[in-house]
C-alpha cells in the first residue's frame, strides 16, 4: 500500500517512528497517575507499604526482571539482524523474544496465584487482611500492586501480540530489510514495556527496608 501523500519512503519511516515515540509518551502517562498514587500513598503509609513489599514474591519479580531485560536484548538483536538483511536470523531472535514474553506471563501467573492463595486480593478483599493489625495501608498497597502490575501485564500481552504479528510477517517475507522501520517500531514498544517493568520492580519487590 503506497501512501501517496508522503514525499518519500524515508519521510514516511520518520513520521512513523516519531508517531511511535509520541504514542510511547502517552503510554508512560497512562502509568503516571498510578505512580502518583503510589508515591502519595507510600508517603502516607510508609510502614504498611514496606511491609507489603516484604510480603511480595521478591525472587519471582527478580526473575521476571532478568527475563524482560533478556527479551529486550533479543528484540534489539532481531532488529539488528533485519537491518543487516538477515531475515532468518531476525526471525529466530524474534521468536526468542516471544518465548521470553510468554515466560514472563507464566511467572506472573504463578505469582498472582500465590497471592490469591494467601488471601490477598485487590481492594483489601481476602482473608489475609483480616489478620492484619493495620490493614488500611496494606489494602492500598496491594490494590496498587494488582493494578500496576496488571496493567503492565496487559501491555506485555499487547506487545507479544505485536511481536507475533511481526514474526509472521517476517516468516512470510512481507517484512524485509527495506521495511525494517516497522520492526523497529514494534521493538520500541517492547522496550517501553521493559522500561516500565524496570521501574515497577524496585517499587513492589525491593524496597521493603525501613523507608
Amino acid at each position: 500500500m503506497s501512501e501517496a501523500h508522503f514525499e518519500s519512503a524515508e519521510r514516511q519511516a520518520d513520521a512513523a517512528r516519531l508517531g511511535m515515540w509520541a504514542f510511547l509518551v502517552s503510554e508512560v502517562f497512562l502509568f503516571a497517575g498510578l505512580f502518583t498514587l503510589y508515591g502519595a500513598y507510600r508517603a502516607a503509609w510508609p510502614e504498611a507499604f514496606a511491609e507489603g513489599v516484604r510480603h511480595g514474591a521478591k525472587m519471582l519479580g527478580s526473575l521476571n526482571t532478568v527475563i524482560l531485560i533478556t527479551s529486550s536484548f533479543a528484540v534489539a538483536s532481531s532488529l539488528r539482524a533485519l537491518q543487516e538483511d538477515r531475515p532468518r536470523v531476525a526471525l529466530r531472535w524474534l521468536l526468542g523474544t516471544l518465548a521470553l514474553a510468554l515466560g514472563f506471563l507464566a511467572v506472573k501467573a504463578v505469582e498472582y496465584h500465590g497471592h490469591v492463595h494467601e488471601g490477598i486480593l485487590p481492594g483489601g478483599h481476602g482473608h489475609h487482611f483480616a489478620t492484619l493489625s493495620a490493614p488500611a495501608g496494606q489494602a492500598a498497597f496491594f490494590t496498587l500492586y494488582y493494578v500496576m502490575t496488571g496493567l503492565h501485564a496487559l501491555h506485555v500481552v499487547a506487545g507479544a501480540a505485536v511481536l507475533a504479528w511481526l514474526a509472521w510477517r517476517l516468516h512470510t517475507g512481507a517484512l524485509d530489510a527495506r521495511r525494517a522501520h516497522v520492526l523497529s517500531n514494534g521493538a520500541l514498544y517492547w522496550h517501553l514495556v521493559d522500561c516500565v517493568w524496570i521501574v515497577l520492580w524496585p517499587l513492589f519487590y525491593l524496597t521493603g527496608g525501613q523507608a
Partner: protein, 538 residues
C-alpha cells in the same frame, strides 16, 4: 502521486466515499459537523438549567433532574465539543494545508480517531441518558463511587473519547515534525499551526492520566477496589490531583487553538504581520508546559496542604503572564495596520475583551485568599465561562466565518454576520456578568435553588441566556443558508496572506496542484504581497 485516482475520488460525494475517506479535509468537516451538533445539544441543556434558575425554588425540574442536566451540560460541552472542535475540526482541515502537506502523517489513524470519537460520544450520551449520571463532569470521589446512578458507561465513553484525542494529537505531532514543505522552517509556521501543535502535546501528555483515574473509579464501582476509599488507605483528594492534572491543561486544550485562530484572523483583517511572532510562539510553548504545573489551584479549599496551595498559587501566576503577552501582541498587531471590521474581526474583539476579563479573574481566583471565598461559587462559573464561551466559542465563530469560504467556496452575508456577533456579545455579557456578582454574594454552583434575595441577578442571567441562544440560532440559520446559496467567494476573498489561501477554495484532494508557493511568509502584507495582488484583481 498515482494517476487519476485522487481526482476521481474528489468528485465522489456519495455517503460511502465520505465515511471511508482518508482526506483530512473531509475528516475535519465531519468533526466540525459532529462537534457543532454536540454544542447545540450542550446549549439546550444550558438553557434548561438557566430556565430552572429563573425563579427560586423548584420550578421546571426536580433536583435530581437538575443535577443530571448540569452533568450532561458539562460532559457534552467539554469532551464532545470544546476539546475536539478546533483541533480536530479546523486543525484537521487546515493544518496540513498550512504546512504545505498533502495530508496528515497517518490518514487512516485520522479516520479511526473520528470513529473513536463517534463511538465514545454515543457511549457517553447513551450512558448519560440511561444511567442518569449526576456527579458533575468532575466525577469527584467518593460521591462518584457511591452514587446510585450507573456511572460506568459514562466513564467508558469519556475514556474512549480520550483516545480519539490522544490519537489526533500523535498524528498532528508527527505531521508538524515530518510533513512541512521544503523551506517551511519552524519559525515560519502559521501561528495556528503552532497552537495546534502545543495542544497536541498537551493532549498526548495529560489525557491518559484522566483515562486511568476514570478507570480506577470504574474498578471501584464494578469490583469494589476502593482505591480512593479512606477506610482502605485511599485519599479522595488524590483523585482530585489526578483529575485536575488532566482537566486544568484541558482548559489549554480548549483555549490554545482558539488563540491560534485569533492570531491568524487578527493578522488577516489588520493586513499586518503579528506584532511579535516570536512572542506568540514562545508564549504558546510556555502555556503548553507551565500549564501542566498549575492544576492544584483548583484545590485550595479541598484539604490540600498549605505548602501545596502556595506552590500551585505562584505557578498559576506564571502561566497568566504568557496569556497576557498574547493579548498585548494581538492589540499591537492592529498598530499601523489596514483594518477591516468584518465579522471575524468582530469576534476577535469580543474574544479580546472577554478574554482579558476571563483571564484577569483567573488571576484573581488563583490568589489564594480570594479563591477561598470564590471557589465553587458562581464567580468561578462566570470566570471559566468567560474563557470557554467568551474565548473558545468566540474564536470558534471567528474561525467559522473566516474559513467558511475556504471550506465551502461561498460567502456568508456580512450584515447578518455583524448582527449575529453583536447578539452573541450582548447575550453573553447579560448571562455571565451577573454570575460574577452572584458568586460574590456567595451563591454556590450546582444549586437548583437559591435564596429569594438572589432572584434578580439570576433572572437577568436567564434572560441573557435566551439572547445568547437566539443569536446562536440566528447565526446557524444564515450560515446554513449561505452554505447552500451563498455568493461564490473566489479563492481568497479576504486578501489574506495565510498559506491556506494560496490554493483554491475549497482545495483539491491533495491540497495543492504542483508545488505549494511558500516563499512569502504567512503574514507578509508588505509591498508585493501575493495576498494584495489577489485582492486587487477582484
Amino acid at each position: 502521486m498515482s494517476g487519476r485516482t485522487p481526482d476521481a475520488k474528489a468528485a465522489d460525494t456519495g455517503l460511502k466515499a465520505w465515511l471511508t475517506t482518508r482526506d483530512h479535509k473531509r475528516i475535519g468537516i465531519m468533526f466540525l459537523v459532529a462537534t457543532t451538533a454536540a454544542m447545540a445539544l450542550g446549549g439546550v441543556f444550558a438553557l434548561l438549567l438557566r430556565l430552572e434558575l429563573l425563579m427560586p425554588g423548584e420550578t421546571i425540574v426536580d433536583p435530581m433532574t437538575y443535577n443530571r442536566l448540569f452533568t450532561l451540560h458539562g460532559v457534552t460541552m467539554v469532551w464532545l465539543f470544546m476539546i475536539p472542535v478546533i483541533p480536530s475540526g479546523f486543525g484537521n482541515y487546515l493544518l496540513p494545508i498550512m504546512i504545505g502537506a498533502r495530508d496528515v502523517a497517518f490518514p487512516r489513524l485520522n479516520l479511526a480517531s473520528f470513529y473513536i470519537y463517534l463511538v465514545g460520544a454515543a457511549i457517553t450520551l447513551a450512558g448519560m441518558y440511561f444511567g442518569a449520571a449526576d456527579t458533575g463532569w468532575t466525577f469527584y470521589v467518593p460521591y462518584s463511587t457511591t452514587s446510585a446512578a450507573a456511572l460506568v458507561p459514562v466513564l467508558l465513553g469519556v475514556f474512549t473519547l480520550g483516545w480519539s484525542s490522544v490519537l489526533t494529537g500523535i498524528n498532528f505531532i508527527a505531521t508538524v515534525h515530518t510533513m512541512r514543505t521544503e523551506g517551511l522552517g519552524w519559525m515560519r509556521m502559521p501561528l495556528f499551526v503552532w497552537t495546534v501543535y502545543g495542544t497536541s502535546i498537551i493532549q498526548v501528555l495529560v489525557t491518559p492520566v484522566l483515562g486511568m483515574a476514570l478507570m480506577l473509579i470504574g474498578f471501584d464501582r464494578l469490583l469494589d477496589w476502593g482505591i480512593f476509599d479512606p477506610a482502605r488507605g485511599g485519599d479522595p483528594v488524590l483523585y482530585q490531583h489526578l483529575f485536575w492534572f488532566y482537566s486544568h491543561p484541558a482548559v489549554y486544550i480548549m483555549i490554545l487553538p482558539a488563540m491560534g485562530v485569533i492570531s491568524d484572523v487578527v493578522c488577516a483583517f489588520a493586513r499586518k504581520n503579528p506584532f511579535s511572532y516570536e512572542a506568540i510562539v514562545w508564549s504558546t510553548m510556555g502555556i503548553t508546559f507551565v500549564g501542566l504545573l498549575t492544576w492544584g489551584h483548583h484545590m485550595f479549599t479541598a484539604g490540600m496542604s498549605t505548602f501545596g496551595a502556595g506552590a500551585f498559587g505562584i505557578l498559576s501566576m506564571l502561566v497568566a503572564i504568557f496569556s497576557a503577552i498574547k493579548v498585548f501582541t494581538w492589540v499591537g498587531t492592529l498598530y499601523k495596520g489596514s483594518i477591516a471590521l468584518d465579522t471575524p474581526l468582530l469576534y476577535v474583539l469580543a474574544f479580546l475583551f472577554l478574554f482579558i476579563f476571563g483571564g484577569m479573574t483567573g488571576v484573581a481566583v488563583a490568589t489564594t485568599s480570594l479563591d477561598v471565598h470564590w471557589h465553587d461559587t458562581y464567580f468561578v462559573v462566570a470566570h471559566f465561562h468567560f474563557i470557554m464561551v467568551g474565548g473558545t466559542i468566540s474564536a470558534f465563530l471567528a474561525a467559522l466565518h473566516y474559513w467558511l469560504p475556504k471550506l465551502s467556496g461561498r460567502r456568508y452575508p456580512e450584515r447578518l454576520g455583524r448582527l449575529g456577533a453583536a447578539g452573541v456579545f450582548v447575550g453573553f455579557n447579560l448571562t455571565f456578568v451577573p454570575q460574577f456578582l452572584l458568586g460574590n454574594r456567595g451563591m454556590p454552583r450546582r444549586y437548583f435553588d437559591y435564596p429569594p434575595a438572589m432572584h434578580t441577578l439570576n433572572a437577568i442571567s436567564t434572560v441573557g441566556s435566551w439572547v445568547l441562544g437566539a443569536s446562536m440560532l440566528f447565526i446557524a440559520s444564515y450560515l446554513l443558508r449561505s452554505l447552500l446559496r451563498g455568493e461564490p467567494a473566489g479563492d481568497n476573498p479576504w486578501g489574506a496572506a495565510g498559506f491556506e489561501w494560496r490554493t483554491s477554495s475549497p482545495p483539491p484532494v491533495h491540497n495543492w496542484t504542483g508545488e505549494p508557493p511558500f516563499e512569502r511568509g504567512a503574514y507578509d502584507y508588505t509591498e508585493g504581497s501575493p495576498a494584495l495582488e489577489g485582492a486587487r484583481d477582484e
